[in-house]
């Protein structure tokens, strides 16, 4: 069984996000880091978050199910940091 470390997941996620936003014209001083916020820093809309989830699932070649990350107490998350996503993925994969 393949074990994914937190560091490896973070590296993968950063790469996926960088690949995703390469044509968007976004200029980040420090690049994508664990503190980067998807909505606030990268101008993600809800459809972009869905596409990111698809990209992550494709990378790991499995359905992960992001419901618990995206929805809390009946409301959809208004923003997510890379670190939040990493922590979620550590528990999921």
């Amino acid at each position: 069984m393949v074990v994914f470390t937190k560091e490896a997941i973070k590296k993968t996620l950063v790469e996926i996000v960088e690949d995703l936003i390469q044509d968007w014209g976004i200029d980040l001083d420090d690049g994508v880091t664990e503190h980067t916020l998807l909505v606030n820093d990268l101008d993600f809309a809800s459809v972009d978050i869905i596409q990111l989830c698809v990209a992550i699932e494709q990378h790991y070649d499995r359905k992960i199910g992001f419901q618990d990350l995206l929805m809390k107490d009946g409301s959809y998350a208004s923003d997510l940091s890379i670190a939040q996503m990493v922590n979620f993925l550590v528990d999921k994969i």
């Binding site: 995703l20 936003i21 044509d23 459809v47 596409q51 698809v54 494709q58």
Partner: protein, 533 residues
């Protein structure tokens, strides 16, 4: 090598409009002269759409030769019931449980190009050819375009503009929103350059790559007809009309004239040996009233609205295209306007909200009676003319994901899910809505000239495209080749052959194809783990 089969999709195209735009009686110059030639020299029929005549299930049925109960795509938005919550997300190609014609042709060595078809993203890994998916925002086109170098090749094409080409979710909401006159005019204008972008890619791939099957879909037809039906429907062009009406009509005619030119150029680019097929996923008609179905279900005690704070975010959620309800106190509801369906909430586990599973049939019968009672106060006519139980129209392994009831409104309109009264309200102005009868055309060598055949089914198109490519039609296709559109000589030389069933299996379907022995073992394991009673 030359392209053998060309398929042109026209989302929402209807004979109601096309007959008018190709009319040559009294020496009239038609708006679509090339399509008029296809009327004369090709074959055509009405094409029955899926039970809910909607882009997602209908295009996927066209691409798979199978009905929604088998492929599992029912709407744009997929919902997951989670006890006290419902999680909404978007369907994508991975939710399709049936193999597409792109895949079937690819694995038999045919090269395909498929442009702008919905639910082709993320793209399949083993495609032999080219795919640029539809209904994907420009920001995600690169990642969802295959092969991986294609996007960079397209980027250097003259005037290539991904923002103009791709689906814009914010803009698309306008298709079914009340727009000001100016916004409506801009909406129509927006689709002219957009279609040109798709045409240019199709033309480029035809010339540079000559795939065996070239398929491109133009979805502006649908978008225009939603907002501009008033200016398109020939029966509404009578009497004195405003300057604005004339301008809008002209703009719509410009769109269809341009589309006609694209059809002609694509056919010319393929050469004279190509067989051409064209189809729409559904037809169109006029809707004249708004039916607020969740407001009606609320009145009947089936659902409760979620109390929302007075914030901008809450207002946005209220305006979204999926239901926002007090789930703990909701037993039946409509998820999205496009679904035209009612979902019954069932408490599968102790403590969950919803009806008890054993009460399902009784509950559903009462719900049907209540829906039948929604009537026009003046005429007593039923507002919901047909109510289908899901097993009647969505048989298959994916039926569990379908709405429990599928509704057909008296004007074929889509329901509203807004918390607003009155429940039924006349529109200030007619708008366009989907009708079950779409269009199907065939043209080229081996096709009978001027032939009009009885209505076919949308699942027949996939079978026809495979046949045209010289491939067998998989035995598990529900669609059949409409042999009467082909000449006797062509059929004699190219008999329709039914071949092996498609090999594609989604994970769910694999589970259902387990042997009884395997199922029994799995059930025993689940019971041991405490997952089953």
């Amino acid at each position: 090598m030359s392209t053998r089969t060309l398929f042109i999709g026209m989302d929402g195209a209807t004979f109601k409009i096309l007959d008018d735009l190709t009319n040559t009686t009294d020496g009239k110059q038609p708006v679509m002269p090339f399509l008029s030639k296809i009327y004369a020299e090709g074959a055509r029929s009405k094409l029955l759409s899926t039970p809910n005549p909607l882009t997602p299930p209908a295009w996927v049925s066209l691409m798979t030769g199978r009905s929604p109960g088998n492929h599992g795509i029912f709407d744009f938005i997929r919902a997951e019931e989670r006890g006290d919550d419902v999680f909404f997300t978007l369907y994508d190609s991975r939710d399709n449980k049936s193999e597409t014609i792109w895949s079937i042709a690819s694995r038999q060595g045919k090269r395909v190009a498929a442009l702008n078809f919905p639910f082709t993203a993320p793209p399949q890994k083993d495609l032999n050819g080219f795919m640029v998916p539809g209904f994907i925002p420009w920001r995600h086109l690169r990642r969802n375009t295959t092969p991986s170098d294609l996007y960079d090749r397209l980027k250097v094409l003259p005037e290539f503009n991904p923002k103009e080409l791709a689906w814009d979710f914010e803009k698309e909401k306008q298709a079914v929103s009340d727009l000001s006159d100016k916004d409506r005019e801009n909406w129509v204008r927006y689709h002219l350059p957009r279609e040109r972008q798709w045409f240019r890619i199709a033309e480029y791939l035809l010339v540079e790559e000559t795939p065996d099957l070239m398929a491109v879909m133009f979805d502006g037809v649908d978008k225009l007809q939603h907002q501009a039906w008033l200016f398109l429907d020939p029966s509404l062009q009578t009497g004195e009309v405003s300057e604005y009406h004339q301008r809008m009509r002209k703009l719509c005619m410009d769109y269809f004239r341009q589309l006609d030119g694209f059809i002609e150029k694509l056919i010319s680019a393929t050469g004279s040996d190509v067989q051409v097929f064209m189809a729409s996923d559904h037809g169109f008609t006029a809707t004249y009233e708004v039916v607020r179905i969740n407001a009606y279900l609320h009145k009947k005690g089936y659902l409760n609205w979620k109390l929302m704070p007075d914030t901008e975010e809450a207002a946005r959620r209220e305006e979204s295209m999926f239901a926002n309800l007090d789930w703990k106190n909701t037993t039946a509801y409509c998820r999205t306007p496009s679904s035209n369906g009612i979902t019954i909430r069932i408490a599968r586990n102790s403590g969950e909200t919803g009806i008890n599973p054993e009460d399902y049939e009784t509950f559903r019968e009462q719900l049907i009676r209540d829906l039948e009672e929604l009537r026009d106060p003046e005429t007593e006519e039923r507002i919901i003319t047909r109510i289908f139980k899901r097993e009647e129209i969505f048989p298959g392994p994916a039926m569990k994901d379908a709405p429990d009831l599928q509704l057909v409104l008296r004007d074929f309109g889509f329901v509203s899910i807004k918390n607003k009264e009155p429940i039924v309200e006349q529109r200030e102005e007619v708008a366009g809505t989907h009708h079950p009868d779409g269009v199907f055309f065939a043209y080229g060598p081996g096709i009978r000239q001027g032939k009009i055949i009885d209505r076919r089914n949308i699942v027949d198109v996939g079978a026809t495209l495979l046949y045209s490519l010289g491939l067998e039609v998989p035995s598990n296709f529900e669609g059949q080749v409409p042999e009467s559109i082909f000449t006797e000589q062509y059929l004699a030389k190219n008999p329709v052959v039914i071949g092996a069933a498609t090999t594609f299996r989604a994970k769910d379907e694999q589970a259902e194809s387990m042997s009884e022995d395997e199922k029994n073992k799995l059930m025993a394991q689940l019971k041991m783990l405490g997952y089953m009673e």
